[in-house]
């Protein structure tokens, strides 16, 4: 702890004297403090509960968990009496759509059809991935899945911390993603779903052929060389059933078609579902295919009088039956993970799971498993994710009340041993634009002058923070009530990673605190120039 504070001071002092920034470490890792979460009820895995227990977090990992466990002397102690700690959720399908391909961008040795781009890797596009909303909903980890086309590319598994993507990536190339219909039909082949399925089938066969052909040529090069294809090379493992394929489905018919294709082609399929799996519950359960189930239940139909024929009976029934989907599949023995995919915002997950429990037959511990242990196992990451056990990643939830109960309140989400408080947003009651001269006070009383510049109205703020000569652009800034929350990358001043700060405004006065990768700090100051003078 003392060493950390010294590092902060060194870093800030360097920044203040306008020296060149200390070079960042080559591979910046999560810079977690040591924490002891004490006095909480700890659900280490679905169905296993420890009362008044302690969780010790060190270097981003769970070091120990148990009752009557002493806090390490170097730990920051969090008194969580009255709270329950769970393993953070795993989002098994967070879609990231791929931009339309320009002709010039087509890979030189890729597939001739632009809907077949398995060599793509969504890890290359993580710069446009926003972890904040998922994290605020209780997710600590997400599978980011590329969308677009029939074979869309490799997904990536990431921790939902702030900071550079490289810090957060757990697995850069995970399951290949596919759909049975291109999302971008145009003039070219295919223009129909039967064409899309034919292309899917032909491509899998081609990938199998590609392996055989190149193996034959490697063994006997005295013959015509088979064509090189990055796309077919990439799909070899999928075609051989050695690697999973996440297939997005849209209705029960596609679910069963996917099952048939898995049998026909020997594929290891995981299905992104659609919510109507209960139509074919027995067939799907018997198939053994894992299901990632969305929870975007229909809104209440706007019903007229008894003679209202504008609403389809099937839609009315689905409105009634949709919350029962997950429970019925689990009862039938299916492997089910739940996803926030398709919800307006990931935070709607809690309400949806609650409905699946209350209106359906989903058991709360099964819901928790479907968000933690089941996706961890599906991803092959059960050794590092899904439960609260020594050696696993410190991905935790702090909850007031029982998770999924109506009065539950998600207080904080821990990602890689870093605590992110979950705040509810209210309408802004202040307009914070202007120049704010602030003093940052670190843990041992060191005072550092900074200048915060904010522009725009409360709904669309932007700005920067200056320390010494270093001006750092804010990566996010938002207002809730009279509170301004902001985040920025402080690598430039020798503190690699994201620093967050929260200020409560009272007229031109500001007071608050924050957390940098190096430790917590307090802030106070005032507005010295209004927005019109900036």
């Amino acid at each position: 702890m003392r060493a950390r504070i010294a590092t902060v001071l060194t870093g800030l002092a360097l920044a203040l004297t306008a020296s060149p920034a200390r070079p960042a470490p080559e591979v910046p890792g999560p810079r977690a403090d040591v924490h002891a979460l004490v006095g909480a009820r700890v659900v280490t895995r679905p169905g296993r509960v420890l009362d008044n227990a302690t969780v010790v977090v060190r270097d981003g990992l769970v070091e120990a968990v148990g009752v009557d466990l002493a806090s390490p002397p170097d730990a920051r102690v969090w008194d969580l009496e009255g709270r329950t700690v769970y393993a953070a959720f795993i989002e098994s399908y967070s879609a990231l759509s791929w931009p339309d391909e320009e002709e010039a961008d087509a890979p030189a040795t890729g597939h001739p059809n632009p809907f077949v781009r398995p060599e793509r890797s969504v890890v290359d596009r993580l710069g446009s991935f926003e972890p904040g909303k998922l994290r605020a909903a209780g997710f600590g980890t997400a599978v980011v899945v590329p969308e677009g086309g029939i074979f869309a590319g490799a997904s990536a598994i990431v921790a939902l911390g702030d900071g550079e993507p490289g810090v957060n990536v757990i697995l850069p190339r995970s399951a290949q993603a596919a759909a049975l219909e291109s999302r971008a039909f145009g003039d070219g082949y295919p223009t129909s779903q039967m064409g899309a399925i034919a292309l899917f089938r032909q491509t899998v066969l081609d990938a199998t052929w590609y392996r055989q052909a190149h193996a034959a040529w490697a063994a006997n090069p005295a013959q015509a060389r088979p064509v090189a294809s990055t796309a077919l090379a990439e799909l070899g493992a999928v075609a051989a059933g050695e690697a999973p394929l996440v297939l997005a489905t849209r209705d029960p018919r596609e679910s069963l078609k996917a099952r048939a294709l898995a049998d026909e082609l020997g594929l290891d399929l995981v299905l992104l579902g659609h919510g109507r799996e209960y139509h074919v519950v027995d067939q799907l359960a018997a198939s053994g295919l894992a299901l990632l189930l969305p929870l975007d239940f229909p809104d209440t139909p706007q019903a007229g009088d008894e003679d209202d024929l504008s609403l389809d009976l099937a839609d009315l029934r689905h409105w009634r039956d949709a919350p029962g989907n997950a429970g019925r599949l689990l009862e039938a023995g299916a492997t089910v993970a739940l996803t926030s995919h398709g919800l307006g915002t990931p935070n709607d997950l809690h309400e949806a799971v609650r409905r699946a429990i209350e209106e359906g037959s989903l058991k709360p511990e099964d819901a928790l498993a479907a968000l933690t242990t089941t996706p961890a196992a599906l991803l092959g990451l059960e050794r590092i994710l899904g439960t609260i056990e020594p050696g696993k990643m410190a991905q935790l939830l702090e909850v007031e009340g029982d998770l999924f109960a109506e009065e539950a309140h998600l207080v904080a989400v821990w990602v890689d041993g870093r605590r992110y408080e979950v705040k509810s947003t209210e309408a802004a009651t202040v307009e914070p634009a202007g120049t704010w001269e602030l003093t940052v006070e670190t843990g041992d009383g060191q005072e550092i002058p900074t200048v915060l510049e904010l522009t725009g109205d409360a709904e669309s703020l932007d700005g920067s923070l200056r320390i010494g000569e270093q001006v750092m652009r804010l990566s996010s800034v938002s207002v809730s009530g009279a509170e301004v929350t902001l985040a920025l990358d402080t690598t430039a001043i020798g503190i690699p990673g994201t620093t967050t700060m929260t200020l409560t405004l009272d007229g031109d006065q500001a007071r608050g605190g924050g957390l940098s990768p190096a430790g917590p700090f307090d802030v106070r100051g005032r507005r010295t120039a209004g927005p019109e003078e900036v």
Binding site: M194, D299, T345, N347, L410
Partner: protein
């Protein structure tokens, strides 16, 4: 005529039958829900005796008055007079009723999801209608209610070589796989004339070919490619170890199946010249066209069609809807039949497929085809064209128990299908349907009331609701079941009636 309830016994014989009849009085568990997946698979009564009907066997027995049809384990056991009901049999008293084989539609685009045409390439022999059968298409049930028991689901006519067909039985309530008619011959759609040469397409969607000459050439070109493909595989089979294998090509593999007589060509066609052209192409490659579809100028080349060994599936009375059909006449079917061509009438339409018996009747009106022959246009003849005549198409011992109980003469516009049976199971029953409508209406009313109630609750305590608020605590708002007040998202539009563009 005052229809009697079919299940009421008029001459009960033994106690066992009485017990069964009581069962039959209550609506049996037939498939009558508006959603297929909720419709129960009809139970197998084991043995069924339809008694006292006028039976159109469409077989050597001809039309039998006051006759009985005995069904056992899904197959027809006997057709004749005075058949005894075995113990436990379900007996249907059908005096005054007519029984025909289940109707068969040799050209349908019903229940095809996600587009009827893969129209991008001139040859898409690799695409399969069987991949996209939509068992939830309500047209299946509507056609079942019109006595249809099987249909040939064809790819559209946008390209010269279209996709592979799927023959289904109208087993409402089954999955796509359960609808497939397992005994049907594999087939494929071809198309000639205006559609494949893009006569009526946007000028900026140009694709080779743009002429009838080009259509012939591209078909020949693809068959030559298929021959090369087959040869490459033959060479590979005798090649040594570690030889790079040819790539499996699903388009060419399907064309090889045609060349080897293992896949039947069903070709969209209108004009006499193009019909002669395709037969010439087929003969030069050593196979026969199985069936010309539409074939509206078939009457001009009926002898050539018969000599080639092709069959013809035509419309009853469609003409003049585009340039290449100006010579169409409603006598086409009768004239081709008269020259020895196996002729069927098809629907090419979700709506028309509900009343194929009336299409058949038009052959009596135009050209005076005998009634039994006319009924063959929608039963035995399409069965022959689809390679399933050993299973369906006539009421003969050993065939599948696919039959229709009509309220009257099957070619009369005043008759309607009262029961439709497939594989010895009652998939449609008019009484059950009428009873189910009341149940469905009650369920619908209850759901509407529940929706109104939920919406009212939402207005009472909806204050502070903000569904788009990412940072809101999950406990912030009490939301009624049913969620926020916005209209339901529209279902993805996959209705086959909306996607059918082909004639």
């Amino acid at each position: 005529m005052t229809p009697q309830p079919l299940s009421r016994p008029t001459r009960p014989r033994v106690g066992a039958i009485l017990a069964v009849l009581t069962l039959a009085l209550t609506p049996a568990a037939t498939a009558a829900d508006p959603e297929a997946w909720r419709s129960p698979w009809p139970e197998d009564p084991g043995t069924v005796l339809v008694r006292g009907a006028t039976i159109w066997t469409v077989g050597p027995q001809g039309v039998l008055e006051d006759a009985d049809l005995l069904v056992r384990d899904g197959r027809i056991a006997a057709v004749g007079s005075g058949l005894e009901a075995p113990e436990g049999a379900l007996v249907i008293e059908a005096a005054g009723r007519h029984v025909t084989p289940g109707l068969i539609d040799a050209h349908s685009h019903t229940a095809i999801a996600g587009g009827v045409n893969e129209g991008s390439h001139i040859s898409t022999a690799e695409v399969r209608v069987s991949d996209v059968i939509d068992p939830e298409d309500p047209a299946i049930y509507r056609q079942l209610a019109g006595g249809l028991t099987a249909a040939n689901l064809l790819h559209g006519s946008a390209n010269a070589i279209g996709g592979q067909n799927a023959v289904i039985k109208m087993r409402w309530g089954g999955t796509a796989e359960q609808l497939l008619f397992d005994g049907a011959a594999p087939g494929i759609k071809f198309a000639l004339g205006e559609n494949p040469k893009q006569s009526n397409w946007d000028a900026d969607e140009r694709r080779f070919p743009q002429t009838r000459m080009g259509v012939e050439q591209i078909i020949r070109e693809r068959f030559l490619a298929a021959l090369d493909y087959r040869e490459a595989w033959r060479r590979h089979e005798s090649a040594g170890r570690d030889t790079v294998p040819p790539r499996r090509d699903l388009e060419l593999a399907a064309l090889v199946e045609i060349l080897e007589g293992r896949r039947d060509v069903h070709s969209h066609s209108y004009r006499a010249d193009e019909i002669l052209m395709l037969m010439d192409v087929a003969e030069s490659f050593g196979f026969r066209v199985r069936c010309f579809q539409h074939v509206l100028e078939g009457y001009k080349v009926a002898d050539e069609i018969a000599a080639h060994g092709a069959t013809a599936s035509t419309f009853s009375d469609w003409w003049a809807y585009k340039y290449e059909v100006f010579d169409a006449i409603p006598y086409n079917g009768t004239l081709m039949w008269d020259r020895g061509v196996v002729v069927s009438f098809n629907s090419d339409s979700d709506e028309l497929a509900r009343r194929m018996n009336l299409e058949a009747a038009k052959a009596v009106r135009y050209g005076g085809m005998p009634e039994e022959e006319a009924l063959k246009l929608v039963t035995l003849n399409p069965a022959l064209q689809l390679g399933v005549a050993d299973r369906v198409g006539s009421l003969e011992a050993g065939k599948d128990a696919d039959f229709v109980l009509w309220s009257g003469h099957p070619l009369s516009t005043y008759s309607r299908a009262e029961q439709t049976w497939i594989d010895g199971r009652r998939f449609f029953d008019r009484e059950t349907d009428l009873a189910a409508r009341e149940v469905v209406a009650a369920e619908r009313a209850a759901l509407l009331a529940a929706a109104r109630s939920a919406a009212d609750d939402g207005k009472d305590d909806g204050d502070g609701e903000d569904g788009d608020d990412a940072e809101a605590a999950p406990d912030a708002v009490e939301e009624p079941p049913g969620g926020v007040d916005s209209p339901p998202a529209p279902e993805p539009e996959l209705s086959p009636s909306a996607t059918r563009i082909e004639r």
